[in-house]
Amino acid sequence: MTTSQKHRDFVAEPMGEEPVGILGKKLEERGFDKACVVLGQFLVLKKDEDPFQEWLKHTCGANAKQSQDCFGCLPEGCDAFL
């Protein structure tokens, strides 16, 4: 499976203060302006894919592909730093 450059960049760097790229604007409007805040949401949902994707769709109207892409980055980011 090929991963996008954005995905590779996201996973390679420590997750900190960089703005959320993929659904950035919408998440920003709802206060999720940093990657670590979206990570927080993911952890609070016990790293569970379905609730997280549901949350993403509900919070910023992400479609199935967008929410899957966003979810796809997170577990790898987690393994690297958690």
């Binding site: 805040v37 952890l43 730093f81």
Partner: protein, 96 residues
């Protein structure tokens, strides 16, 4: 990363928590979380340290807000709240 000097001032529990990734550690591993508080947290479904970390991140790593939540919603004492928010703040500084 923390130097030897900083590590010296830490409690053994905090040092242990910061010495490795959070993984699947139970919530009682977080410095400041007493046995009683851990029970309260587990009843609320917060059984792993990473879930508490998630809550801290959701609150934009605002220690005061996190402490207020831990005291009001989870029955923490002020001391427990301060110790655990400090622990999570230090963890973020090390790992994020």
């Amino acid at each position: 990363t923390l130097g030897i000097k900083e590590m010296d001032h830490m409690s053994p529990r905090l040092r242990a928590f910061l010495s490795e990734p959070i993984g699947e550690k139970d919530v009682c591993w977080v410095d400041g979380i007493s046995h009683e508080l851990a029970i309260n947290l587990v009843t609320k479904g917060i059984n792993k340290a990473y879930i508490l970390l998630g809550q801290f991140l959701l609150m934009h790593k605002n220690e005061a807000e996190f402490q207020r939540w831990l005291i009001c919603c989870c029955g923490a004492t002020e001391c427990e709240a301060q110790q655990s928010s400090n622990c999570l703040k230090e963890w973020c500084a090390c790992f994020l």
